[in-house]
């Protein structure tokens, strides 16, 4: 743990060199460092005039205290790696909306495993996802318990902004930033503090193009990507760049991406994949499916061999439809 004592005598330049990520703290707080590189941290924060403090709404004491918290959290974040590996997620039964115990004891999902979630709208899917995100410990309305690696997880998963248990791929996948694909991935990589930015960018664009029907490059503005390309980019980005070990997917419908490859990518990146879907192909691709009814888990069904055989048939049908779709797009006349 770094304390104020450790840095107040350090020069701004030394701090920048020792903790490169601290630059974003200064930038985001509108603290300009040009010309102040050679003065100490303490001198820097003392140099503001009364007028500047009022004018720019600067709270020196709070900034200093925040800086220490920031540095420590970032150092902790950078230190988290191997020892924090997540191998399994366990859901321990709680109760449904009527207060009855859920119809299972506990369900453990391992890394690289896919579980689908089915059930009508309003049946309690969001609650289940929220329970996992919050790492519930009998303290949510369902009274479920979420275990990580078989143990009650550290509370840090709840509150840390850089260290979330769950990444969510939602149905609406729009971009609101006005950036190129390269700038977009760079920005995300910076917030994750990855070292080999260029390599990560290449991996993500390659993976995204592998999933997307139509190819795109790094100079394409993200707002001009098609629906399928956006989805492909987002799935690739989440698989490769997100730190969250669990990925929740909300209905990726068949909009121009190869769903099978998408799931494979996530699984290859050692994610635990939970997917809400009513598409039979996706549901059967999962090893198990959770049936939700009345706010509770009603059943956990293992995909059996008959269903796996059906999946092969369904995929054939899907391939036929995909081909027809591609032909339509090319302006061809469809034949029997």
């Amino acid at each position: 743990m770094i304390s104020i004592k450790d840095i107040e005598k350090m020069k701004i330049n030394e701090i920048k060199n020792k903790y490169p990520f601290s630059i974003s703290f200064f930038q985001n707080n509108n603290l300009h460092l040009e010309g102040y590189e050679e003065i100490t941290f303490e001198q820097y924060f003392n140099h503001f005039t009364e007028e500047e403090i009022e004018e720019w709404a600067i709270d020196v004491e709070k900034l200093k205290a925040d800086f220490i918290v920031y540095i420590n959290e970032m150092l902790e974040f950078l230190g988290i790696s191997e020892d924090d590996n997540i191998d399994s997620l366990t859901i321990v039964a709680g109760k449904n909306k009527n207060g009855e115990k859920e119809n299972f004891e506990k369900l453990t999902i391992h890394k690289s495993e896919i579980v689908s979630i089915v059930g009508p709208t309003g049946s309690g899917k969001s609650r289940l996802l929220a329970d996992i995100e919050w790492a519930a410990n009998k303290d949510t309305p369902t009274e479920r318990i979420i275990l990580i690696n078989g143990k009650i997880p550290d509370k840090k998963w709840r509150f840390s902004s850089s260290n979330k248990l769950v990444a969510q791929l939602s149905q609406n996948m729009n971009f609101v930033m006005d950036l190129t694909v390269r700038e977009f991935i760079e920005l995300h990589a910076k917030s994750r503090m990855v070292e080999d930015e260029q390599e990560i960018i290449k991996r993500i664009i390659d993976a995204a193009n592998h999933l997307a029907g139509e190819q795109f490059d790094l100079d394409t503005p993200i707002t001009s990507l098609s629906g399928g390309q956006s989805r492909a980019l987002m799935i690739a980005d989440t698989a490769i760049l997100s730190r969250s070990p669990i990925v929740l997917i909300d209905e990726i419908e068949n909009a121009g991406i190869d769903r099978k490859k998408a799931l494979k990518l996530l699984v290859n990146e050692e994610k635990i994949v939970l997917m809400a879907t009513h598409d039979p192909i996706l549901a059967l691709m999962a090893d198990k499916r959770i049936v939700i009814k009345n706010g509770g888990i009603d059943k956990v069904i293992e995909t059996n061999s008959e269903e796996k055989e059906m999946l092969i048939e369904l995929e054939k049908m899907d391939a036929v439809i995909s081909k027809l779709r591609a032909n339509l797009r090319k302006g061809e006349i469809l034949k029997k």
Partner: protein, 233 residues
Amino acid sequence: MNLITISGPPSSGKTSVILKTIAALHQRGLTVGVVKFDCLYTDDDVLYKKAGIPVKKGLSGSLCPDHYFVSNIEEVVQWGRKQELDVLITESAGLCNRCSPYIKDIKSVCVIDNLSGINTPKKIGPMLKSADIVVITKGDIVSQAEREVFASKVHSVNPKAIIMHINGLTGQGAFELSTLLYDEKEDVETVKGKELRFSMPSALCSYCLGERRIGEDYQMGNVRKMKLGEEDD
């Protein structure tokens, strides 16, 4: 009674978040009231009434909304006590993005949304920087990457805050927020003598007092001029 101040830019989703959070508090049998502060117009009080929540609204009109808040907060607290509320929530829009009438030792929540742009955390002053909890909304509309980037920007301007994502439509996350808001042991009897976390902007020039004519002859009091030199500086 617990007192909670919630603020955030207009249309960030404060009311939705509050309604969903109150539903969770109601499930625990707590009584919650809301006082809504706004500038010219609000019909949020109708939404609260519809949900069976005791509500009062205050429009600041020609006054600075935050000055208006501070001048009224003690009476608001006494109203809440008279209603025998367990929790009183005040909701206000940080209209100039600088202030927020957060009070020392009173729980404060800032609500901002993912759609407001990546540099928004940088633009918002003490309203964001001195909040205890920052709620980020509209996450379902943007990508996972954008959510992560936005949250990291918020984190760098307010590392001490608890940062949460809430979906104002489905309520995902609102239950979790409700657990952080109510503390059985806390009982606010009065805010008299308490202090604001941050000072409000200085004011009082002739325009504050209703002057409408333009030009140096009519400018008095606290006036400051832009630097518009020949060179770009």
